[in-house]
Symmetry: C3
Amino acid sequence: MNFFEDFAVGRVFRHATPRTLTTGDAAAYIALTGARHVVHCAEPVAKALGHRACPLDDFLVFNVAFGKTVPDISYNAIANLGYADVRFTAPVYAGDTLACESSVIGLKQNSNGRSGVVYVKSVARNQDGHAVLSWIRWVMVARGAEGAAPATKVPPLPAEVPAASLAVPQFLRAQALSTEATGGSRQWDDYAPGEVIDHPGRMVVEEADHMAATRLYQNPARVHFDANNDFGKRLVYGGHVISVCRALSHDGLENAFAVVAIHGGSHANPTFGGDTLACRHVVAAREELPGRRDVGVLRLRMLGVKDEPLARLPAVAPGEKHPAVVLDLDYSVLIPRRQ
Amino acid sequence: MNFFEDFAVGRVFRHATPRTLTTGDAAAYIALTGARHVVHCAEPVAKALGHRACPLDDFLVFNVAFGKTVPDISYNAIANLGYADVRFTAPVYAGDTLACESSVIGLKQNSNGRSGVVYVKSVARNQDGHAVLSWIRWVMVARGAEGAAPATKVPPLPAEVPAASLAVPQFLRAQALSTEATGGSRQWDDYAPGEVIDHPGRMVVEEADHMAATRLYQNPARVHFDANNDFGKRLVYGGHVISVCRALSHDGLENAFAVVAIHGGSHANPTFGGDTLACRHVVAAREELPGRRDVGVLRLRMLGVKDEPLARLPAVAPGEKHPAVVLDLDYSVLIPRRQ
Amino acid sequence: MNFFEDFAVGRVFRHATPRTLTTGDAAAYIALTGARHVVHCAEPVAKALGHRACPLDDFLVFNVAFGKTVPDISYNAIANLGYADVRFTAPVYAGDTLACESSVIGLKQNSNGRSGVVYVKSVARNQDGHAVLSWIRWVMVARGAEGAAPATKVPPLPAEVPAASLAVPQFLRAQALSTEATGGSRQWDDYAPGEVIDHPGRMVVEEADHMAATRLYQNPARVHFDANNDFGKRLVYGGHVISVCRALSHDGLENAFAVVAIHGGSHANPTFGGDTLACRHVVAAREELPGRRDVGVLRLRMLGVKDEPLARLPAVAPGEKHPAVVLDLDYSVLIPRRQ
């Protein structure tokens, strides 16, 4: 539970409480988010693609890994400012144990001297030491005591994870993904850059839902559990908003079977218990993967929208803020290509 | 997400997102419903009966199977009108994968021309292609566009699943069900037709509970998650009401270890978050099974009652509506016989 | 569902619905409580200590075992008065089945003749018949009918479980507990009797949370699910308060890897949905274990505190009541010793 002055560039944190994920976590994740992407919940479908079992939902993995970093990095964070270079590098299965570490890669004290921005690069590894997820994030952290500002270092923040560098499993047989099993017929070829998809579902977020999800991820940040904060109420953990939006987006992105990268994103407005979430996607780009004709990449912009009917939401330009938009995520998914 | 005009008699839907059920789902089901029937939660008891492991709770199976049909059949349904000929034909175990399909067996456009009734027969099969559950239901579905009415076809709707046609596993050793393990001493012989059982428990349904249960079943019908509907609030999924009533009925029907058929039923009034549910059973009949002296069938009428103390609820005649009755289900269970 | 007159000293109850616990229950427990003690959630850490898999959280075991006794002992209890001699005697793993029995060891009718205190000794055994947990509790139970008072017998209630009699597994390699994995550096030697630890987290208890937890434990006591009682609202099950406090206490007691005994305790005030819980520990004693230099015992006093910032809570003397204190538990944990 560090303050700004406790961070130094190069400091490494081996985060506590590694976690063995189980089919119990997968079931709880479905109950808490409504996730339906079939590769994560139907073993025969997963095996047809070459997996040895159902891989756990990518955002379950992300949220558990993220949660591990909170006690050291962001327990007392004022704000989670951004993500970059998030790479999903290997599937995680029930029975795998995740352990995480983070390195401080940048520091910048705010001019008021009372807080500063900490940049960390984190990695989650499985029990074999294999990286399954890596990411950069930066957070604003309060100073605990007065003192000299550290040398400012702002690290390079990649604007994207290039498609050519994405980790796509060699074993993957993307063509085996049955559109009957996914419930959607649209493949990589059928999405056009600029296309807007307003997903039909909407979901009220209950206090009990977001707290249970955040506890499932063992993320102990107080602001999610205790109303004694600047909002005067509990703040919904941003990763829960991402998970709910991913779940809502099933209907319209049925074949987007794996998340492979997050290029950047922000929790543009707070979400609170009682808010009703909806999700819009904008197709940013369609990209090929080197050496593969069976599967391509869709680069997507996920907008999490609260309380506003999507039909009334105008186009929101990249970088633009809209009061109803709580999540603006730039990420990429794998999706089969037409043969 | 079909409208009335998208259905045609004979059309077959192979529903998306098959689901591998796990012990995680079984645990979530217990947490969300309070289920306590022991064959589903104590492996030694299940094995004594001849099962290879704990069979999953019958209504967990029912609700997951039902949920699979929603996107194609009832995503935009105005009302779920009824069930018939529901047969539980084989146990489902953790690790089994359910896939569902439905055939349209009847259509009847309403005289206002804006909606119609769709009759479907659905079946859920496990990974071996073996049917584990089949059912008929009919729903009122809106028209999406004007057009000619299809030919009316109202299929035969069996008034009951005859006891002689029930699927009782050959391997079943019903006499091995220990009344010490179930906590109840009453067996088939001890229930008399006409007997009324007012179960002692009551349970408030929280919004978070019914939404989590409905998400666990991957049932995405909007009315359960979004208050933007004719009720102005979220409607509790009827299957959750059934599950809660089945759980409440443990105390009084401890030895009713398996649900084998639903003859019919209706969600007679809506249930909303904050309602307090209680359950009354009326014993309709005691039936023998051909060739078996060890186990018999109780045909039961399950009344789900909201907010009204059972002691104040009058007798409700079959077919009669009472404002406190939210569920009126005609179904059959297996229960050991005295030797 | 017995009344006071149904109990007799020496009567034995073999409680119904034994339960096979699974990794699903472990995941649900984490989601409902926020438990983070690493031996229960990271298999490599558990195996390093000599376990064959992650042992289930001690209070998950306690709450499930306790729940089994409710239908026979305390379904209609007026109050749960106290615990004594609670011993955690063997680890429980996913796949184990717990069955419980209780013996009546004391009775004392209240002078008003309308209720009485029932003392029971309970034990939970696994599928091999091995005791994993035993405990004494006493509850106030209403009379159902008038009648003569039974002979008063108040059993001896041990003030503590002596450290020398604690069950510490032979196989346990406590020194293998990595402080990197637990996230805390403090060991047995570093805690001083009298030390006060105000744990940093706080958690609002939602109605949906405590009901789901209580259902997970298959504890059907009505007062937790139905507002129709003397409080006019649902009472949070005391075992949920214990579990939440144990989870909150992770930060400050990271290496306290196992609960071995509860010497006594009381639910000093009721907890209701919407209350915000915090946890204070007071170190009561540091005790050695015969024949072991690797691991010691901390005897702790756990105070569960509602709605009051810990910084404002005065010292509460043992036996003293404070309106904000809802839980006052005297218990012991295992923790590695410095070499």
